[in-house]
Amino acid sequence: MIENISLSFKGMLSHKIRSLLTMLGIIIGIASIIAIVSTIKGTNEQIKNNLIGSGNNTVNIQLFQGDWAMDFQYESAPSGVPAISRETKEKIENIDEVERVSLYRQRQYLDSIYYLNKQLAGGNVTGIDENYFDVMNYRIKLGKGFSENDFKNNQKTAVIDSIVAKNLFEGEEPIGKVIDICGEPFKVIGVAVKSNTFEPVIETVEDYHTYKSDASGKIFIPERSWPIAFKFDEPQNCIVKAVDTDAMTQAGKKAADILNNTLSVSEDINVKYKGESLLEQAKSMQDLSNSTNKMLVWIASISLLVGGIGVMNIMLVSVTERTREIGLKKALGARKKRILVQFLTEASVLTSIGGIIGVISGIILAQVISKFADVPVSISGVSIVISVVFSMAVGIIFGLIPSVKAANLNPIDALRYE
């Protein structure tokens, strides 16, 4: 076998241009498949990170009227929707799939936030409980977080995120400063940041609304202080952190069931809690990206097919050219199998080298795509191994007909061939 391989290399080197051109089809095919697969994988990982928040595993449970999530900023809660009690929260916390629960209230696009005379346009105020920072993956970067005293005794304290710190204080030290929320003074005690940075991909109008308020920053206040700024007590939003990514859907469903049991609304207004399933959303987006890209892989495979036909063609030429050599080898005692294996080895060495060059070009191509199209890539070892094995298989499959032809040559005709 080693002899056959070294013979194949000799043969290739003696026809450099021909071998290179033959390999080109395989190189292009493998390179495009590697580039596409790497981009799919990168995109999928990005989707997962963006939607699921890189292991954060949180599920929002919202009140829906029909298919629409209710927004208490513009409408008041229908009668029969109570604020979520401590007992209900404990029940949700006891669900197997739930690790932690946080209740919060939120106002977006507020124009009534000031520091001295400076207005924070489109700010977001969230009234939070003691679990919120943990569930949402915030950490205190500067100053301190809320103490038990802040939560229990209606303290007018606030934690801001770094965007608010930048927009409102512009380099000034924010800790200890007093900001004005809806006419009430709140003292800034800390600056919080997300533990993992999250770059939202805005593709739809909904995405835009979801992420818009992030742009001007968030201000957090203790939930008990909420009525001070916003005067009335409204039902909270509920967010649960599931034990792992796969438990997210179940955690959301079970929590929504518990919350729905607390409702005493009439059937016809059709108000219900629903857990949004980011996992399913992510999966369906990944499915979409997978299926689009699978088609691309098929298209790229066509070039591999064309490459394979090229290999077959050149092998047939090679068999014809070397008819005398085959005849001689047979006369000297080479068995059919040896001739067959020799030609198959030549074809698969040719395509394997093409495959290896293809993998290298594919990786380079993926990096170039990533740079210019701003798409993340993730190169998988498995796809590299599969590509090389596959290109070897292309050599064997398309080399088969020429090799059988060579092996079956009649030695007399072959020796006589001019």
């Binding site: 000799k10 001689l328 047979k330 006369a331 000297l332 005692g333 007399i412 020796l415």
Partner: protein, 228 residues
């Protein structure tokens, strides 16, 4: 007796019509014989040579080579007979141009499953015997015709075959080189190698101990040769 042919017939199909090429050929070769088979072109001598060389099978008749009935042999067995029992020398040498002289000579050993190191050594010895030890790393294209034929003879003899089968071995050589090859054949024969040579040149045939004549597919002993 190494070769025993009785009533050999060989037909080729021309369209649907069978064309007889060999008609009732009887040929016996003993070990150590040196036979030349002469005949004009179209006489059937190449066909006879192919059958003797186990490259082709007869249509009818019996052919026993070294105790084996060739008509009963499988493809594999025929390959092994060609590899171990017959050494071929062709008119146009049939050396592989991309491989060195040494690698060309090694080829039959490769098919016989001999290990690399042993192969190298045996091929070297064979080349020394034909006087080409200086040329082992040359490519065939760098050699003269006579040298090429000597490489081919070294290759033919490498497996110590029972019989050397030569098809017009001097056909592509000048007189002087031809004489050298014939001298080499003579030496090999004196060492006990059986030689069957096909030629259409009377002077070359004269080097053999016995000359057979083939004409229109029929063989006859025409006497002559070195024995007479």
């Amino acid at each position: 007796m190494i070769l025993d042919m009785n009533g050999i017939y060989k037909d080729y199909l021309l369209g649907k019509e069978p064309v007889p090429v060999l008609k009732d050929v009887n040929l016996q070769v003993d070990e150590g014989d040196y036979i030349a088979i002469m005949g004009p072109s179209g006489s059937g001598k190449s066909t006879l040579m192919n059958i003797i060389g186990c490259l082709d099978k007869q249509t009818a008749g019996s052919f026993i080579f070294d105790g084996m009935d060739i008509s009963q042999c499988s493809d594999k067995e025929l390959s092994d007979i060609r590899n171990r029992k017959i050494g071929f020398v062709f008119q146009n040498f049939n050396l592989l141009p991309r491989q060195s002289v040494l690698e060309n000579v090694e080829l039959p050993l490769l098919y016989a499953g001999v290990g690399k190191r042993e192969r190298r050594e045996m091929a070297k010895q064979a080349l020394i015997k034909v006087g080409l030890e200086e040329r082992i790393n040359f490519k065939p294209t760098q050699l003269s015709g006579g040298q090429k034929q000597r490489v081919a003879i070294a290759r033919a003899m490498i497996n110590n075959p029972k019989m050397l089968l030569a098809d017009e071995p001097t056909g592509a050589l000048d007189t002087k080189s031809g004489e050298q090859i014939m001298k080499l054949f003579y030496e090999l024969n004196s060492e006990g190698v059986t030689i069957v040579m096909i030629t259409h040149e009377r002077e070359i045939a004269e080097y053999a101990r016995k000359i057979m004549l083939i004409r229109d597919g029929e063989i006859s002993d025409c006497g002559g040769g070195a024995e007479q």
